[in-house]
Amino acid sequence: HSPLVFSSHNSSGGSTLLGYIGIDTIIEQMRKKTMKTGFDFNIMVVGHSGLGKSTLVNTLFKSHVSRKSAGWARDEKIPKTVEIKAVSHVIEEGGVKMKLTVVDTPGFGDQINNDNCWEPISKYINEQYEKFLKEEVNITRKKRIPDTRVHCCIYFISPTGHFLRQLDTEFMKRLSHSVNIIPVIAKADTMTLEERQEFKQRVRKELEVSGIEFYPQKEFDEDMEDKSDNDKIREAMPFAVVGSDKEYQVNGKRVLGRKTAWGIVEVENPNHCEFAQLRDFLIRSHLQDLKEVTHNIHYETYRAKRLNENGGLHPISSSDTQESNL
């Protein structure tokens, strides 16, 4: 690096650099920092049982990170009420550590009467915001506030081929304003390509009509580049996915897939299903954005609401012994 050189101003107001300063190394510094500290990512999967949620999560992160692999039996009974089960793992790739938390919701939509089955989920999401808010509002704050907020909620749509269910629209309507919802069509190997297209169009239209803003939300597009990228993604959503954690030999390659009597469904083949697209979208391009939208928008909305009501931050529950710091 050359020694620091003073820049001179010119009439346009901006400053042209007379030499190389080294400001752009900040990116490298950030990267090093991130790699050292690692980061948290919390993903929630919602959908009624049997839609392949756990399998998909395992496939997404190419490791056994879902609740099912953590020791629960495969055919456990359907719980009577919606439960929230969170399982955390630390996975590492290329020197970057990620603490991945998968929040599962067994019992959602499985009962005969599913009224208000979204409430435990809504409560959980708000509780995480509340935890973060309390930490933030503390006088002596922790160096790094543990982030348990749900960054992304993948909602599994049943591949009926006809319409969205009433439960689907109800859930998404209620939660699209407090968390990023990404709808996916589960078990896409049920449908032929034409059926899939038709179903997707119908679902998209219904989501539009019901006013459900799924991630990436149109209103948060920052510039034209973002908008065009996201538009392309929005056109392709909801992604029709197939999950699998078994490998088979196809054309000399080992691929993840499902073997049926009439062929092998390749999970990562874009001609077969849109899993690869979902994975790229979720992990390779928009992971950080998901976290940012959660922090800057959903969390701030929650915070503003909490601080506005009652004119201050009062402890929510009577058992809370922390003092109010306002």
């Binding site: 499985d110 005969i112 009467n113 009224d115 190997d189 049920t190 032929t192 009439w262 469904v265 001609n271």
Partner: protein
């Protein structure tokens, strides 16, 4: 002739025929009559929307019961569970079948699905009731059989097990209709997943004591083997399609995926052929028989027992449901007669009482009248006496007055006489 072991009716001995009589032709006669009459079959399909019910029906009967012009119920969103029926007449080889398909759109689609089985139960009961009424009529010439002979229940291919809704529904309907559970959209599952799923379902069905349709054992060993094979495959995993695709030069019905074609009629791909053979080719008559002999009879005895218990004190009729109707009628008659006697006795009593009352009343009024009569008489007498008194006074007065008058007259006469005298005397100075 096949020698049968001795039955419980030992008095009927078997005899060998000495010549050809001809009653071996009986099955043919029955057959010809039935063919002329035509057959009826009612099939009900139940399941959440989007499970491929309409497609399966179209595939089973090779017709477009639900087509683009008349879309299946799943294309129309329902707010409540409806029960819809569509009739179609199918002819094949001279045999006529009136097929009625009963569909249940809206089943299990709402957020709150409590009691979504109620419309279905009501429908089945109403059809049984229609038949019961037709059977009890005096004129029984035409008895159309609209009872539901078979109910295909579609289970979503989750791969885990039965949902609470599935269990509730089957528990409530296994006593009313033949329930055949099917795994819908079976091309979602790999063969291993399918096996596990089937085992899980059968385990849960046994756990909850659900009585699904049982294939009857026949006497033929070969048939029995086939039946046992079918039983092992329960619940049947089916795939439906009406689209014909070319595979290896052959035209088959199936679903085209980028990774292959799932053939509907291929036994290794799904159990569709098993279902079709069982439902149409071998067990259609048995389904009708079981409906008639078991489910309908259950309904009938429950219904009739409830009716006869209506007029009698319920505490006495507990445990009387098993009595024969005649004994029940006798009992009823006796009770009725007793009731009549009691009523009669009561009425007599009441009558007596009333008569006594009336008599008493009459006596009272008689006495009253007597009294009044007496009083009036006394009054009259008093008046009479008064009048007498008055009359006497009057008479006296009259006599006085008359006497006075006489005296006056006399005086007058005297006075006139003296006047005359005086005149005569010429006392006129």
């Amino acid at each position: 002739m096949i020698e049968r072991p001795e039955t419980a009716v030992p008095s009927i001995a078997q005899r060998n025929l000495e010549g050809y009589v001809g009653f071996a032709n009986l099955p043919n006669q029955v057959y010809r009559k039935s063919v002329k009459r035509g057959f009826e079959f009612t099939l009900m399909v139940v399941g959440e929307s989007g499970l491929g019910k309409s497609t399966l029906i179209n595939s089973l009967f090779l017709t477009d019961l639900y087509s683009k012009d008349y879309p299946g119920p799943s294309q129309r969103i329902k707010k409540t569970v409806q029960v819809e029926q569509s009739k179609v007449l199918i002819k094949e080889g001279g045999v006529q079948l009136t097929l009625t398909i009963v569909d249940t759109p809206g089943f299990g689609d709402a957020v709150d699905n409590s009691n979504c089985w109620q419309p279905v139960i009501n429908y089945i009961d109403s059809k049984c009731e229609d038949f019961l009424n037709a059977e009890s009529r005096v004129n029984r010439r035409s008895m159309p059989d609209n009872r539901v002979h078979c109910c295909l229940y579609f289970i979503a291919p989750s791969g885990h097990g039965l949902k609470p809704l599935d269990i509730e529904f089957m528990k409530r309907l296994h006593d009313k209709v033949n329930v055949i559970p099917l795994i819908a959209k079976a091309d979602t599952l790999t063969p291993e997943e399918c096996q596990l799923f089937k085992k899980q379902i059968m385990k849960e069905i046994q756990e909850h004591k659900i009585k699904i349709y049982e294939f009857p054992d026949t006497e033929d060993d070969d048939d029995n083997k086939l039946i046992r094979k079918i039983k092992e495959k329960m619940p049947l995993a089916v795939v439906g399609s009406n689209v014909v695709i070319e595979v290896n030069g052959k035209k088959v019905r199936g679903r085209q995926y980028p990774w292959g074609v799932a053939e509907v009629e291929n036994g290794e791909h799904c159990d569709f052929t098993v279902l079709r053979n069982m439902l149409i080719r071998t067990h259609m008559q048995d389904l009708k028989d079981v409906t008639n002999n078991v489910h309908y009879e259950n309904y009938r005895s429950k219904k009739l027992a409830a009716v006869t218990c209506n007029g009698v004190d319920t505490s006495k009729t507990k445990g009387q449901l098993t009595k024969s109707p005649l004994a029940q009628m006798e009992e009823e008659r006796r009770e009725h007669v007793m009731k009549m006697k009691k009523m009669e006795a009561e009425m007599e009593q009441v009558f007596e009482m009333k008569v006594k009352e009336k008599k008493q009343k009459l006596k009272d009024s008689e006495a009253e009248l007597e009294r009044r009569h007496e009083q009036m008489k006394r009054n009259l007498e008093a008046q009479y006496k008064e009048l007498e008194e008055k009359r006497r006074v009057f008479e006296e007065e009259k006599a006085n007055w008359e006497a006075q008058q006489r005296i006056l007259e006399q005086q007058k006469l005297d006075a006139s006489k003296t006047m005359e005298k005086n005149k005569k005397k010429g006392k006129i100075f």
